[in-house]
Amino acid sequence: MNAIRTLLHYKERNERTTPRRVMSKAEKWKLCLTVFAGKMIGLIILITGIKLCTGLMSPAHAADTYTAHETAMMNSINTAWTLVAAFLVFGMQAGFVFLEAGFARQKETVNVLMECIFDTCLCGILFWAIGYAFMFSHGNGFIGTHWFFLSGAPDTYEATGIPVLAHWIFQFAFADTCSTVTSGAMIGRTGFRGDILYSIGVTGFIYPIIGHWAWGPDGFLATMGSDKNFLPTLGQGFRDFAGSTVVHTIGGAVSLAGAIVLGPRLGRIFARDDKARGGMPPPHNLTIAAVGGFILWFGWYGFNPGSSLSAMDGQGIGRIAANTTLAACAGGMAAMIVAFLFGNTRGKFDLGFSVNGMLAGLVAITCPCYWVSPLGSILLGLVAGVIVYIGVNLLEWFRVDDPVGAVSVHGFCGIWGTWSLGLFATGQYGATGPTGPDNSASQLVRGLFYGGGTDVLKAQVIGNFMITAATFIIAFVMMWVIRKLPHPWNLRVSKEGELGQGGLDVFEHGIEAYPPQSM
């Protein structure tokens, strides 16, 4: 303490001894004026500079130029981002397998697992051979006509700067999702040979060709509203950021067609026929189903943010990830509350509806995720949760047997999600791009609730309707034809296969999911 006190005294003494120069009033004024004048001169130079070099100061990134090195760096980062997203989307297959197996009855579990595995393998081969060519190559408004077997494809896809093969694997994961969605509503009575036939149709033709309309470089819905294209007076193209329509509505519409053509599982009693016993047969493993729901949610972080194909749009992918989360939260909660208030589940906190509601929110946010605000995501997720509840009950009333709720979750909520962009787009965000977002005035998307009028909504409804209707009709015809084939190639397994010893699993695959352990 003493040492510190000494130090302080020493400092005080020193300060006291420092000589201070006393300024006169005139001198003070002079100093003030000099400093002020200097600041003014600096300000004038700055303003002049801004006036002269507006081009350099404007925030539009289009004016920016990058060196070859910088471009290569950006493309590498974007590619790494896209691949990470592709791996996450691929991980959704595990989620689908879990969800579908958990919601199925025990005697059709091996069949569910097998269909998902086979669909994935088939989809990879077909998407390499023809799918990617139909969907993403140039051609006409209806179909792509180049790059079959990926031959002749350029190094990088369009303006994204991403290698075609990286783009291919990302899009393969999407196509695979669509084909797996389809199997969900057809569980328990589809013969495996029938599954092979319709899967070829879905992953090789229906998804890529109809997907081309919205996502192909020259698809007629993608270019809709511009000069010399489809509906030029509309002034708006069809937008589907990550595939509420392209992936989920197509998957949902095909599965609805399949479920109608197949008819219900034998012994399935519908709620309106028998109030006491009617309804969905009990699922066989809810733990697995709930885990599957969460794995799907996790995979969705690749599905939506990854669809930017650009890690340079940091604001964009952050916003998408947050919106995705909020819509899922809102959807799960809404479905739980609606099921708590109405119907047979009244008074119960229903797991099946909550898991499906969560997925409904995710499906709905898939299309508008880039253009809406967090609050908008919550609102549209809430609506999705209610839609899934209504959808499940509606299908039950129409006597359509959909064991996992694929039609309600992916079909109905895919449609809602696509429309919701026309309502909830904030008008602050435009398009994403390989070097950053493009928020120039011509790109901005503004929905009805934000004073943007009905143009975007119209474009969304038109695009979604054309895709849904075309998919349903084509899929219905395809399923109907396969249903007319002789056994065993018929879409529906024979009666023996459904009711025989060990059910569909033993009939088609030779083993039960949980075989007795006698050794």
Binding site: G267, Q501, G502, G510, P516, S518
Partner: protein, 113 residues
Amino acid sequence: MYKIEAIIRPHRLEAVRDALREHDLIAVTVSDCRGAGRQAAPTHTFRGSQYSHGLELRLRVEVFVNDSHLDVAVDAIQQAATTGEVGDGKILVFKAEQAVRIRTNERGESAVH
């Protein structure tokens, strides 16, 4: 008083219960079981191996009835459980010496219903 024990195909259970309900026989005891009969046992396959433990999945349905209900109950089960194929199962009837309702300690016929 009798105990009826029926071994039936799993997917006939709903029909059997419906048939019993028509005679006001609501109480049943059902358990999973595996067994062998005259029907050829199924062969299972897994990763290149073939195996058969010679046992098929069936349900065992136990119903307790009074003398007056015995015939209608047996007929109801037989008609509901049949598919006409080999392997439909068996119905066995045992005479019960005593029945006790645990809750009230009732004995005899009144304890069965």
